[in-house]
Amino acid sequence: MAGKKYNTPLIDDLEKGPWPSFVTEMKKAAKKSEMSNDALGHLEKCYATKKGYWKHGGIVGVLGYGGGVIGRYSELGDEFPGVAHFHTVRINQPSAFFYTGKALKEICDIWDKYGSGLTNVHGSTGDLVLLGTKTEHLENIFAEYSSRGWDLGGSGSALRTPSCCVGPARCEWSNYDTLDLTYNLTQEFQDELHRPSFSYKFKIKSSGCACDCVAALARADLSIIGTWKGDIKIDQAEVKNYAKTMDIKAEIVDMCPTQCISYDGKEMKINNKECSRCMHCITKMTKALRPSGERGATLCMGSKAPIVVGSLLSWVIVPFIKLEAPYTELKDLLRKIWDWWDENGKPRERIGEVIEIKGMRSFLEAIGVAPQPQQVKEPRKDPFMFYTDEDMAGFKAKEAEEKKTGKYKF
């Protein structure tokens, strides 16, 4: 490429050392692309001045979609014309990030034709991110990808591209089919994903167990965490094998948060009724221990990063739900959730924040979920509570019943 050769001593330093270098990647792309070449010069300037030069995203996109492309322009377009426009295109990744070489190479070929040749594999939300193209290429990029079976991911105030852990594809701990659920929900809610109609972003992440390898509980508005209802089955012969290399008392029994495991040097026992299914023992003794019985998930909601009013971790909403195709119960629930959010949320309010403002009761009643002790760490501490007329009627009816039966019912 006959582009301008930039002197980049600061970022060149980041080509040294054992960890793979993003600067090396940018230079590789710069050999083929004027845009990436200017991105290098642009980044060196950021390093030299300790300041970023990207402007706020403009509204760019493809016809009929309201998201999937994030406009990016530089303040220094005259100095670095290759990055004057440097838009991001989000490609919806396949469930659990599995690819074939053939498919990925095709993605690369199209990207080299229209863009900078730089990517993020993957972005934080899960999309395969193509970094840096110009407005006039967007329709062609979309036609090339969509005609080959790839679609754009979500952006803006919309359903964001759902993502999941590796699940049953390569993990013995998954309690439901995270890949299938993610694919199914993504297909079901294409309109919500491509045409922003929410108050703010809405993320769905699916983890097969409490290890939560997609960090659903920390960053998804709907965090789906796999769990089970039966006993942990014990293979005592394998327990004996573990005992050869592991201090079972110190590493398993003493570290169990509910103290429901005992081990007498020969046999391991689990008081399953007390188990809270945290996965510690199972992950450390995977050959000896496995869950059994009914499988499904706990639905938690509300997590987000600090903007605007502080970070949240997701709250338990539905302690247990079966998750089997076509996932009708979950989809119906999601529609109710979005309806309530739509009624109550102001612009840029994530659903967790709206639940805080409007109250968990309002939310649970709207989506038809009963109050349950599994939803709270502890009951409320203050006495400032609402009593509706219906609540009072219920309490009075219970007392009337007690008078008849002569037995208190608390």
Partner: protein
């Protein structure tokens, strides 16, 4: 060549076409797995089938030519199949043990770095930074590169009491799960934003800007048809800047990073936790941020020396107490570590039962 006909709402391709045959056969029927070394693990199915995974580091920003190189390797040893992890590593999947050593040999020869599995440090979740974000107060990719060069032995060989999950956020927006990491770097602005009153009235919506402020520091300035920011209330979050371009918050001399520790995502043993602020400010010193890197390495080493096996950083600190952590790590305790935003009630101590250091 003609542009093909576009399609809309096709969604992602079905994942099944990308699953290697051994996975299709053993889908949902895996029995157990073993970590052979930090770069290799093997999953064993109830059928007895085995699947080896070789994990390789990635800088997340990849040139298409590097992806092609990864694909070539997958085609040579893995029947063309490969996958990526949520922390941006590449995984090569081998069902024929005979191909395992040749695969690793070629990866080594080509300069790919294997590791990241088990009780060590794997790839760092991070944001775009100066490379591609408008709100960045630092460069995430550069920080990650500098950190991982220094911590590399924990990726490919040296072990820790448990895994240590690292993350870098280039502003408090924290794209990605930065706020629940064992150690995270969070870039911060430290100065009240400047307002360009001339352009404000044409470019910004007054109620939106006022509503964007989490501390209610913004009020209307009717004379200027603009806004005022109360410096005593502003916490420099930058949310007003995000909704209104004439507000500027970047300041090369004041922008820097804070370090938070003790978060986790999983529910093993203890519940998921947020990371907590321990170092409030370190200046941006590109290209390698030496003090930030030194601080992270120091915290990792103090943890390695003092934690019990299987304890994550947050679990270890909760056992010994935060006051002990600050003294063990020899970190100054500052006002910034006392919450004065939304979590004060939850985080102040309400008993006289603490340790003196």
């Amino acid at each position: 060549m003609a542009i093909p006909q576009r399609k809309t709402d096709v969604g992602p391709p079905h994942y099944k076409q990308f699953l290697p045959p051994v996975i299709q056969k053993n889908y949902g029927k895996w029995k157990y797995h073993e970590v052979i070394n930090p770069g290799t693990m093997v999953h064993v199915g109830e059928s007895g089938d085995k699947l080896w995974t070789v994990r390789v580091a990635s800088p997340r920003i990849l040139a298409t030519d590097t992806i092609r190189e990864q694909c070539d390797i997958a085609e040579k040893y893995c029947d063309g199949y490969l996958r990526y992890t949520t922390r941006n590593n590449v995984e090569f999947l081998v069902s024929d043990e005979k191909k395992l050593e040749p695969l690793k040999k070629e990866l080594t020869a080509k300069g790919f770095k294997m590791g990241g599995i088990g009780y060590g440090i794997t790839n760092v979740v991070h944001t775009q930074g100066w490379v591609h974000c408008h709100g960045a107060c630092t460069d995430a990719s550069g920080l990650v590169k500098a950190m991982m060069d220094e911590l590399y032995e924990y990726f490919d060989s040296k072990r820790l009491p448990n895994k240590v999950r690292l993350a870098v956020a280039c502003c408090v927006n924290m794209c990605g799960a930065v706020h629940c990491s064992d150690i995270a770097v969070v870039a911060v602005h430290t100065k009240v934003p400047q307002i360009n009153h001339e352009t404000f009235k044409n470019m910004c919506e007054l109620p939106t800007v006022i509503g964007s402020c989490p501390t209610r520091a913004i009020s209307p300035d009717p004379a200027k048809k603009s806004i005022k920011i109360n410096a005593e209330k502003c916490m420099y979050c930058g949310n007003c800047f995000t909704v209104c371009p004439p507000i500027s918050i970047k300041d090369p001399e004041r922008d820097g990073v804070a370090i938070v520790v003790g978060g986790k995502i999983n529910s093993l043993r203890t519940n998921p936790k947020f990371s907590k602020l321990v170092i409030p400010y370190i200046s941006n010193v590109p290209p390698r941020w030496p003090k930030v890197v030194a601080a992270i390495k120091h915290i990792v080493e103090v943890y390695a020396k003092n934690a019990k096996k299987h304890e994550r950083i947050g679990e270890w600190i909760e056992r010994i107490g935060w006051e002990r952590f600050f003294s063990l790590a020899n970190i100054d305790f500052t006002f910034q570590s006392i919450d004065d935003f939304t979590f004060m009630r939850d985080t102040m101590r309400t008993a006289s039962t603490f340790k003196w250091s």
